[in-house]
Amino acid sequence: MSPPTDTTTKPWDDIPGTYVQDGDHYRRGYRLNMLLMTLNTEEGRRAFAADEAGSLDRAGVTPEQKRAVLDRDWLAMLRLGANVYYLLKLAAHDRVSVQHMAGSMSGISEQEFIDMMVSGGRSPEGNLYTDATEGGS
């Protein structure tokens, strides 16, 4: 599987801070996501916990993906092809919350993220288009 580059424009390109699971993302993240999938079983979780680096090598992920996992750089993992539903397996394995992971990706702390959600969540205003002009595109 050759690591793809996104060459075509897509209708969601102008949505800010959002990574869509399309064919390019699929191919980029295939091995990484399949590794994360192994965390669905007790056996897989034990194997990963015992030797994270070795598990990543055996899964054949790229060096950048490996580094991002070892560093728990959630945004980097996402950008390198991880899918959020698969990343949640790693959050579960680490016993960290969805708010921790989502906060990390959006550059705020877990508590700040929780507070934002309790206050009604991130507002659509200014967050629907990359150029921040509502209705643009």
Partner: protein, 284 residues
């Protein structure tokens, strides 16, 4: 003759299941959400269905990037709750209805040319079990049989809104042609607005969500024509799960009566919505 006696649209946030499992439904954070579930629970007790067809999506549990069915129909007699990282939820076994599954498969494929994937061995994740908790609380056994219908909402290209609505309509025809006298409820699950990923994580769009509920009731064809990019943009990347509510809506036929609605922010990172519908002309 079997008939569809109601429809439920509901979010399926894992944390809602965890709150129930860990006795936190009375906490300040969770009490308002669970309080709103009361009338829906009363409704389903009253309607007392024999079978629920639960339209949900698998979250990298039973399916992976190795194989992604657009529509996966459960054909089994039992669907064990799945291990999603914390071990399986300690909720009752989900029991199927093989005979109705085969009837659905036949009707969907032969009469309506829906290209179903038949799935026998299926562990069901929070996408299916959390809606059961929301509607049934914590019984010893689930009070009805369940047929899972897994929809690909994760991997682009997802089925169109129009296709989801048509699938629902085909389910209605299938149920109505089943000779046994069964009361069937259809669940559409997932959503509402939420985004778990990226710099924009945490997006909530109350206006979009409430408009979705209104149009789901009154103008399902209009809602079904909304392109997926609008959901991604307006309701967040994971808000696209809402297309599964269109399957439920299609199964209810033409006009519906809105029995109940509940909307609460937040449940974890998500806008939790719940709607209960009945087909007009049918008695529950």
């Amino acid at each position: 003759m079997a008939r569809i006696v109601g429809g439920v649209g509901t979010s399926h946030v894992p944390a809602i299941g965890a709150a129930s499992d860990n006795d936190k439904t009375g906490d300040d954070y969770w009490a308002p959400l669970f309080a709103g579930y009361g009338p829906a629970r009363e409704w389903i007790r009253r309607v007392d269905p024999d079978v629920a067809i639960i339209v949900y999506n698998d979250h990298a549990t039973a399916f992976s990037l190795q194989l992604i069915p657009t529509f996966g129909l459960g054909m089994g007699s039992e669907y064990p709750p799945a291990d999603e990282g914390y071990g399986p939820r300690r909720v009752p076994m989900v029991h199927g209805d093989e005979k109705l599954s085969w009837h659905l498969a036949e009707s969907l494929v032969v009469n309506d040319e829906i290209d179903i994937t038949f799935v026998n061995d299926l562990h069901v994740d929070h996408g299916l079990t959390v809606p059961l908790t929301i509607m049934c609380d914590r019984p010893e056994e689930w009070p009805f049989r369940v047929i899972p219908l897994a929809v690909n909402v994760i991997q682009y290209p997802q089925p169109t809104g129009h296709r989801c609505l048509e699938l629902g309509r085909a389910i209605r025809r299938a149920v109505e042609s089943y000779p046994e006298d069964l009361r069937v409820v259809v669940f559409g699950t997932g959503g509402m607005s939420h985004q778990l990923q990226g710099e924009r994580a945490g997006l909530i769009n109350r206006e979009f969500d409430l408009a979705f509920l209104d149009r789901l009731v009154a103008d399902p064809d209009g809602q079904a024509a909304v392109p997926h990019v609008d959901y991604l943009r307006q309701a967040g990347s994971e808000g696209l799960e809402l297309i599964m509510w269109l399957v439920m809506r299609g199964a209810l036929g033409g006009d519906v009566r809105e029995v109940y609605r509940h909307y609460h922010v937040p449940a974890s990172n998500t806008a939790a919505g719940l709607i209960v519908l009945e087909p007009v002309g049918d008695k529950g």
